[in-house]
């Protein structure tokens, strides 16, 4: 589904990604771990098309098409979704209206009819129930005065509504208590199927107890230095990243 080949990216002239190779198939869950500043969030942003970052080399191929030149909204239309670590608040635009706009823009871009109000309502009911979201929440202004947990839950709610092929969860666990974490993880797991894929970007192993990855990658200084199964995450949790750093140097 997603193939990243030798991806190099800079922000304001500084090299952040220095040759990323990554391949994700439908039905898989991948996790990317790494210390602060290793380039995890940059990778998420670059896949989603953030124009603050300049891709200097390499390709991003999604569903067999090169998407490197596409704008963020065009990538969303193809089915890429990024759950933000710090979602932006939009006063005056309700969660409902925001999602309605997003869904219909995507449908229009795909040449589909806009979703009827009743279908939309029905879907919102189902998905909010799935994520334990209070109906009152839907009429609040998007992310305005939301708690950390509410923001993250709202991100996953949007993901549930937009039904992307590839979901990138960036720092979804940060700022969540254990109950909120379980709810969010449970939502992600329920939405998982054989046709979609998930890329979890996290600092801590904790989230991976609930969203179990098929593959774990370690990102150090802009490169994936090691990939393995879920046990790799446990090892990182116990031993930190230092052993990998020396291993990389030695290699």
């Amino acid at each position: 589904m997603l193939q990243i080949k030798n991806l190099h990216a800079t922000v304001e002239g500084e090299k952040i990604l220095k040759g990323i190779n990554l391949s994700i198939n439908a039905g898989e869950v991948h996790a990317i771990m790494g210390p602060n500043g290793s380039g995890k969030s940059t990778l998420a942003s670059v896949i989603a098309g953030n124009e603050d970052y300049e891709v200097q080399k390499g390709d991003i191929v999604f569903d067999k098409a090169n998407i490197s030149e596409l704008s963020p909204d065009e990538r969303a239309h193809k089915g890429i979704f990024l759950s933000f670590q710090y979602p932006v608040s939009i006063p005056g635009v309700s969660v409902t209206n925001f999602i309605k706009t997003a869904i219909n823009q995507i449908r229009v871009a795909r040449g589909q009819e806009e979703m009827s109000a009743s279908d939309m309502l029905k879907m919102m009911r189902e998905k909010s129930k799935l994520l334990g979201i209070d109906r009152k929440f839907l009429s609040r202004s998007l992310n305005e005065n939301f708690s950390g947990g509410e923001k993250k839950r709202n991100e996953i709610f949007q993901m549930a509504m937009l039904e992307p092929k590839l979901s990138i969860l960036d720092g979804t666990d940060s700022g969540l208590d254990i109950d909120a974490l379980k709810t969010v993880a449970n939502g992600v797991n329920t939405l998982k199927n054989n046709d979609n894929a998930t890329l979890v970007i996290t600092h801590y192993q904790r989230l991976l107890d609930y969203i179990v990855p098929d593959v774990v990658h370690v990102l150090l200084d802009g490169k994936i230095v090691k990939s393995g199964d879920k046990d790799l995450a446990l090892k990182l949790e116990k031993e930190g990243y230092d052993w990998l750093k020396s291993e990389t140097v030695n290699a």
Binding site: S45, A48, G49, N50, E51, D52, S71, P72, D73, R75, A76, H77, F81, L82, F84, P87, V88, I90, P91, G92, V93, N97, F98, K100, T101, A102, I103, N104, Q105, I106, A109, E114, S141, Q158, L162
Partner: protein, 442 residues
């Protein structure tokens, strides 16, 4: 002074005498107009040499070809103006076409309160005491308001008697039709909200022609003790229409006056919005949203004069400027020595969409009391790139994403509009202005 300014001035002064002859006025009223034209003659049109007009030049809108006295009612029908009326709200409507009252398009009242014509107010003997008490008593007697006074003939007169709450809003709609001529219009409105009375007013100037129109409007507003007024100005005119809106408010104790100014259209718009507080525990609010493009120009010149203790004033103006458009915000707050415990807040936030757009924002706080809370803040920025990326990553194209951010930016002003139909209408106007279809109502 450039020639066209001078020519228009000469034309105005020379036509004044003939105009006055026709009016058949009482002596004291005659003197008032005489004095007014003298002020205008002496001061002329304001130029950029004046501090208050530093960033706004009227030159391009002073055209000696203006017809000053359009005569005929061009017999507009309701369907011609329908889209400019907020017809979904039940309201009284005072409709003026080329400055002349149009009875068949209007709904006036004299039942519980007066919503009728300035000409009736000025001419009927029963209003004489009110004319003496209020007419031309709030104006600063500067050149443009004086010019309006000299030629004042028609406009809206609204009076809400003591203790009455107007059960529906009053709309003042000024249309200009000059399809074959350039027009200069000078409507004159007077709003009196008596003790404990309440009202909502919506005012709009709308050109139906592609010809040049210049409106020099004066509105005097008086709020007696405990009175309350919400007043909405919709400035979304055609690109060849210009407006100088002079609004002067005088408030007595415990009164509350909120003026909203939505400026989206027109070539040049200058708002002189001046409050004079004349008692304790008064609240004066002014809020505005300006969204302009091309070479449009909007200038907000506000003044709040705090003359008594324990009063408040709130100013919140948002501006979004695209292309080569220019904005001016000049907010003056004057706190007299005895006006202790004044709370005066002023905020002016601006977004420049293009490099060539300009905003001149100038707060002026002149505080002579020592126990006050006054603040002002001005920001000039661009749309937040992170927010834009967030919206785009949800599949919302750049243009629509920008529009949503603009709505979010203007939201706190829009949200405080108390007439839902009006709020919906303004939201729609903004969406049209930005060129998006939101697909939902805010």
């Amino acid at each position: 002074m450039a020639q066209s300014d001078q020519e228009l001035k000469d034309k105005l002064i020379s036509s004044f005498f003939a105009f006055e002859e026709e009016m058949e006025l009482e002596n004291d009223h005659h003197h008032m107009r005489d004095d007014a034209i003298k002020i205008f003659e002496e001061k002329g049109f304001p130029t950029k040499k004046l501090e208050e007009w530093k960033y706004t030049s009227l030159k391009s809108v002073l055209n000696p070809e203006y017809n000053l006295f359009p005569k005929k009612d061009k017999s507009l029908e309701y369907h011609d103006i329908k889209k400019y009326c907020i017809h979904d709200i039940d309201s009284y409507q005072l409709v003026f076409i080329d400055g002349i009252y149009s009875s068949h398009l209007s709904t006036t009242t004299h039942d519980k309160f007066d919503a009728c014509l300035m000409s009736a107010f000025l001419n009927k003997p029963k209003y004489k005491p009110l004319v003496d008490k209020y007419f031309n008593k709030a104006t600063p007697k500067e050149s443009l308001d004086a010019l309006n006074t000299a030629f004042s003939k028609e406009g809206a007169f609204i009076r809400i008697p003591k203790g009455v709450t107007a059960e529906k809003p009053v709309q003042i709609l000024n249309f200009s039709t000059g399809s074959d001529e350039k027009l200069m219009l000078q409507p004159r409105n007077l709003v009196i909200i008596e003790e404990g009375a309440e009202a909502e007013v919506i005012e709009r100037h709308q050109s139906l022609t592609e010809n040049e129109v210049l409106t020099n409007s004066v509105t005097e507003i008086f709020l007696e003790k405990n009175a309350k007024l919400d007043y909405y100005k919709i400035q979304n005119d055609k690109i060849k229409a210009s407006l100088v809106d002079n609004t002067y408010i005088k408030q007595e104790e415990k009164s509350d006056c909120e003026i909203y100014t939505f400026s989206f259209g027109g070539k040049l718009t200058r708002n002189n919005l001046h409050y004079h507080q004349n008692g304790e525990n008064i609240n004066s609010s002014m809020k505005g949203v300006t969204i302009i493009e091309g070479k449009q120009h909007v200038d907000h010149n506000t003044l709040v004069h705090h003359t008594q203790p324990n009063c408040e004033s709130h100013q919140d103006y948002k501006g979004i400027f695209a292309d080569r458009s220019t904005g001016v915000f000049n907010g003056r707050v004057l706190v007299d020595k005895i006006a202790q415990k004044t709370n005066a807040f002023q905020s002016n936030n601006n977004i420049l969409i293009d490099d060539k757009a300009t905003i001149n924002s100038k707060p002026q706080l002149e505080i002579f009391a020592d126990d006050v809370a006054c603040s002002h803040g001005c920001t000039i920025g661009e749309l937040d790139e992170d927010a834009l990326f967030y919206l785009q990553s949800r599949g919302i194209p750049e243009k629509e994403a920008k529009a949503l951010l603009m709505f979010a930016f203007a939201n706190n002003v829009l949200n405080s509009v108390n007439i839902p139909e009006l709020k919906r209408r303004i939201t729609k106007q903004i969406a049209n202005k930005i060129g998006v279809s939101l697909g939902f109502e805010l």
